[in-house]
Structure formats: structure tokens, C-alpha cells
Amino acid sequence: MSNRFNKIFLNTTQKTKLVAYFVACYPSYEKSLEIIKKAIDSGISICELGFPTQEASGEGPIIKKAHDHCLEKNITLKDTLKLAKEVRNYNKNVGIILMGYMSNVFKYPIDKFVKELAEVDADGCLIVDAPHELKEENQLRNALTEKNLSLIKLVAPTTTNERLKIISKFFSGWVYSLNFSGVSGSKSADLKQVEQMIKKIRNLTKLPICSGFGIKTPEEAKEVASSGCDGVVVGSSIVEYIEKNANDKNLTQNVGKLIKSFILELNKQ
């Protein structure tokens, strides 16, 4: 595990960290880089760079649309790694994880992917469709561990206690706690359930826990943060904003403002 996550979560200026998901290279490579830089400047702690894939089986229509846009422009995982490198060059402290699906990673293939991930000085990755039962996940996880990188594991409300105990052995970096079982952007989080989730996970790990899915507004972010998690992940809501305002010349500024409004609310706790 990279030391960077430790630092990020030990930092106390912000009680609850903001993890922001971007579809990498969306709406274009340059614009995306600009937006992410602005987001970092606006206070995000970790940025998730989603690499595009056709199926995107965990994504709802908002994120899927951005993926499809990138695929049409022949954006690949390679481009996302390049983007990650430029982001890292811009800022040494922000957490960077690549987020996506096994399909692309497997074809890269796995070892090369991990090698390059280390080279760009990212902190790890999150693969939506890679439970620990998947042999290829094991392969990926082992390769990442060797390079001191994290495979961020997810926990869902439907994950049984028994299973949670098993998964907890593979936790690395931080834990992604899903607020509902379903695709991204499809529902809102239920605070009661989120609290229970966080408590359950806390019992099994000392690692930070970030809560994600269904957080659409700064107010919702604050509410989820009150569950006691260490970070909240905002995805669809940012991607949707970019989608809707792709041609706005003030897009970058405005994403910055959007991020700030999340930080502001989170800091009100």
C-alpha cells in the first residue's frame, strides 16, 4: 500500500475526505486534465480515474454515456494512465486510483498494467467486477501488492458478515463501502443503512472507509459523512455536471465551484 493514503486520511484539516470520480479523458484529454487539476485545487483528497469500457456493468446511464463518448474517440486504458501521470506531475499529494473493469486490465495485460500504474505513481486501482473469487483478481492483487499499490475492495449492503470477514483480509488502502446494491447513479443513499455498513466494516479493519454511490448533492454528502465514514465518493453527480455543460467555457471553473460546495458542506460537520 502506498503511503499516500495514510497521509491523506491522517490529515485532519478535513474531517471527511472527498473522493471524486471522473471519467478519464472526458470530455477530452485536455479538458479532463484541466478539470481534475481544478478539482485537486478545490480540495479533493483522492481522484478516481475511470477508464472507459463498453459494458460498464456497474454504471448507470450517466457514467455509461461518458464512457461511450470516450470509446467513440478511441480513448483507452493507456490514455488514462498517461492522464494519471500528468495529474501526478501536477500534484504529489492527491490520491490517484484507476477505476474500471477487468476486461481492459486483463487485456493490457495485468502485469504491464501494474507496472505502468507504479510508474505513473498512482496509488492503486479499483476494479468493479473483480471479486476475490476471480483468479484474475488474485493475479492483479498480488502484482499490485508487490509494487506497494492498493486494490481497493468494495463492500455492498448485501455482503454477508461471513463474506465481509473474508474480504476484509484483502482490504488495502481504504475500503469502498457501497451505499446500495445497484448501478451507479440509480438511487439515493439511506443513512441508517450507511451507518450500519460503516460500523460493520470498522469492526473488521483499521483502514479508512469511504462511502459511495447515491451521493448527489453537497447536503447528501454531509448526511452520509455523518455516518462516521472517513470519506465520501461523489461520481455521477460530477460526471453529470460535466456532461451537461461540456461546451460551457467556464466548465472547469464551475466544476471547481461544484467541488468546493461539496467540501464546504462536508466541513460544516
Binding site: K78, S103, V105, F106, K107, P131, E133, A156, V183, K187
Partner: protein, 396 residues
């Protein structure tokens, strides 16, 4: 999955993580893992329950009309000159294909699990109409997801499913998109039963669908022993993802002397032309872009066999040489349709035409006591207008 006395039997199903050799597994989000485990447990439990299996057998017989007979295609045999060509007449099943055997099994399983609603995908609409019929029979509401391309070219199955009470959701694209969309819908509604139509996606689906369909091969064994006093030398079936083929050959997997040949649509031949990858919830062979971000493949007349992936079990069986793979082109499908209609008085759909195309090729010149059995998994109704448009004048 199931136990078996033969050492290194190929009939034991997937391993504990859902793999067949290096293929299969579960490439699903954590939010689906519980559903899949619940399903696996329910499946393993159900197939140990004699009452459940008896119920399945009862409805197979009375509702579906199983066993489907085997049929000696005497005229084609004579015309080709060689092996005896047989059809396993799955098109005589209720709803007109092998599909209802699977939907019946899974709807019974869904009921057993106490599920209150069913979701499914479909390509040719054959699974959709079978699923909707089954859901109606067992009084469960059902939602189907189909790609717009398929909905536009397949009409009758969609009307039938609607009349059975099924609600259809149309998504852009074809079967690929329908599967993804159905899985997403399932993720959003983990209380639904996801009734998959073929031997694809994450474990335990491949085992479940194959289990249900393996009745095809079991019937074949009995029927050939009764009629011919011996088993066929080759068994041939078409595959989209592969339930029909798997169901046809499973019974004979530990009998290597019986050749097993799977036939894909030339345009979407994942087993023949695909590369290993991870998509659609599983590790298997796909037609895909080099970077794994996109699927590839063209369009076949055989809507039901137009799938850019393949059952992971079949990918494994091909790797170890237990099965052979071939392809059929649109032109061949049309020609074979015509041959079968005019010589045997059977109107087949495009999918089995793929299998029969291969059977005719292989029969030629073979000894007279050599038996080739092709599974005839669909009837023509859904393809009739397309055929008439393309080659109608050939029949005048």
C-alpha cells in the same frame, strides 16, 4: 459441482469458484455476489430434492411436451450419400425451441427461492417468449430486456411474450446490451430472479442452464439406444452462448469416441475466432478489441446465435480437445433451410440450420452405419418473413 464416479469426469460442472479450467468464474460487482451465492446454494439444494426434480420432469412432459423425438432425415441422408443424419427435434417443444426447458427449470427454482419477480434478457426473442410463457404459467410477473436491433427484426416472439403478460424493456443495441442491461436491472433489484437464457455470465448460471438443458442428451441416449441400438458417432448443435449445444452433449462428455461439434454463426464465432477475455460477468473467449474495451463481430441471420462470447465451459472443452468448433455463413443457413424444408418437410429456424449445415458437410462420404445427430433447436415461424424476402422466389 455435482459428484460423479468417473475419474477426471468432464461432467462435474464448474469448480468451487465457478471455473471450467481457466474459463468461467464470477466477474461481477460485489453487489451481485450475494445474489449469485444465494442462487448457487438454491440450485445445489434444489437438484438434491427429488420432489423438485419430479416437478420439473412433470412439467417438461405435460407442458413442454418432452421428450422431443429424434428423427431420421432419410431424404437428406440419401441426397448427401453417407452417414445417417438424425435431428433431435427440439423445435417440437412448446414455444418452438429448446429454451423452455431452461426457463421452466429456473422459474421453478425462482419459486422455490421465494422470488416474486423475474427479469431476463433475450436475443432472438426465443428465450423471452419462453420465459414469459413460463412466468405466466407459474403466475410470476416478468420483465424482459431486448436490444432494439433484435426487437425490430423479431416480431412474433415479442407479441407472444406480451400476450403472456411479459413487460418488455427495449435498450439500444442487441443481445450484448440486453444482457448488460438486464444484469444492471438485477443489481438494482436484488430481490428479482434473473432468468438467464443461455450458458453464459457468472457462475452458477452456466451450470444451471446446462443442468436444465442436459435433458436433451439424456433423451438422445435413450432414444438412440431404442431406435438404433447404439449411440450417434457425432453430435452437432449450434451455439449462441451454448445452452443448446451443452445440453445436447453433456450426457456424452465422458465418451470421447462420440464427436461433439459446435457450430457458431460465422460473423460472431467467439469460440473459433475469439480471444480470452473478461466481459459479461465471466472469463471466456470473446470477439473483442485488442484492449478489451469493446466487443466485435458482425450480424448473422441466426439472431439466436449472434453472440460475441461463448459458454466458458465450451471454451475449456475446446481447449482440451473434447469438442470441435465450426461456423456457418448466412448463405449456408438459407441453403440448409431450403434443403430441410423441401426434403424433410420441416421448417427450421436459422439457428439449427447452422448445425444441420455442418451435419450435411460431415455426413458426405461417411459409412452408411455412421450416425450424425444434429439438434434442431428452433422452428421457422420467427424467421419466415426474412426467408421469404431473401429467397422467396427460389421456391416458385
Amino acid at each position: 459441482m455435482s459428484k460423479n464416479n468417473i475419474k477426471n469426469s468432464l461432467k462435474t460442472g464448474s469448480d468451487k469458484d465457478g471455473y471450467f479450467g481457466e474459463y468461467g468464474g464470477i466477474a461481477a460487482g460485489e453487489n451481485l455476489m450475494h445474489n449469485l451465492e444465494e442462487l448457487k446454494n438454491a440450485f445445489e439444494d434444489a437438484i438434491k430434492d427429488k420432489k423438485f426434480l419430479d416437478e420439473f420432469a412433470y412439467h417438461c412432459k405435460h407442458w413442454i411436451g418432452r421428450p422431443s423425438p429424434i428423427y431420421f432425415a432419410e431424404n437428406l441422408t440419401k441426397k448427401i450419400g453417407g452417414a445417417k443424419i438424425y435431428f433431435k427435434q427440439e423445435h417440437l417443444n412448446h414455444t418452438g425451441s429448446h429454451k423452455p426447458t431452461n426457463t421452466l427449470f429456473q422459474v421453478l427454482l425462482a419459486k422455490r427461492m421465494g422470488k416474486k419477480k423475474i427479469i431476463c434478457e433475450s436475443g432472438a426473442g426465443q428465450h423471452w417468449s419462453a420465459a414469459a410463457a413460463t412466468a405466466a404459467k407459474f403466475s410470476l410477473p416478468i420483465i424482459g430486456v431486448m436490444g432494439k436491433i433484435d426487437v425490430e427484426r423479431i416480431n412474433q416472439n415479442i407479441l407472444k411474450a406480451k400476450h403472456y403478460g411479459g413487460k418488455l424493456k427495449v435498450v439500444p443495441g442487441s443481445l450484448r446490451e440486453a444482457i448488460t442491461a438486464a444484469i444492471k436491472e438485477w443489481s438494482n433489484n436484488p430481490d428479482y430472479y434473473y432468468l438467464i437464457g443461455s450458458t453464459c455470465s457468472s457462475a452458477p448460471f452456466v451450470d444451471i442452464v446446462r443442468y436444465a438443458q442436459s435433458i436433451i442428451g439424456k433423451e438422445m441416449r435413450e432414444q438412440f439406444m431404442e431406435l438404433e441400438g447404439k449411440l450417434p458417432n457425432e453430435i452437432i448443435a449450434c451455439a449462441g452462448a451454448g445452452s443448446n449445444f451443452s445440453g445436447s452433449i453433456h450426457e456424452f462428455l465422458d465418451e470421447p469416441e462420440i464427436k461433439k461439434v459446435v457450430v457458431e454463426a460465422e460473423e460472431t464465432a467467439a469460440l473459433t475466432n475469439g480471444t480470452k477475455g473478461i466481459m459479461q460477468g465471466m472469463v471466456t473467449k470473446f470477439l473483442q478489441s485488442d484492449d478489451g474495451s469493446k466487443s466485435l463481430g458482425g450480424t448473422s441471420l441466426g439472431a439466436g446465435i449472434m453472440y460475441y462470447g461463448i459458454s466458458p465451459q465450451l471454451a475449456h472443452l475446446k481447449d482440451i480437445g473434447a469438442i470441435e468448433a465450426s461456423v456457418a455463413s448466412d448463405k449456408e443457413l438459407l441453403e440448409t433451410y431450403k434443403l430441410v424444408a423441401q426434403n424433410e418437410g420441416i421448417g427450421i429456424s436459422f439457428e439449427p440450420a447452422a448445425a444441420i449445415t455442418e451435419a450435411l458437410k460431415r455426413a458426405k462420404g461417411k459409412p452408411k452405419d455412421y450416425i450424425i445427430c444434429a439438434t434442431c433447436c428452433g422452428r421457422v415461424e420467427k424467421d419466415l418473413d426474412v426467408i421469404e424476402k431473401l429467397i422467396g422466389k427460389d421456391f416458385e
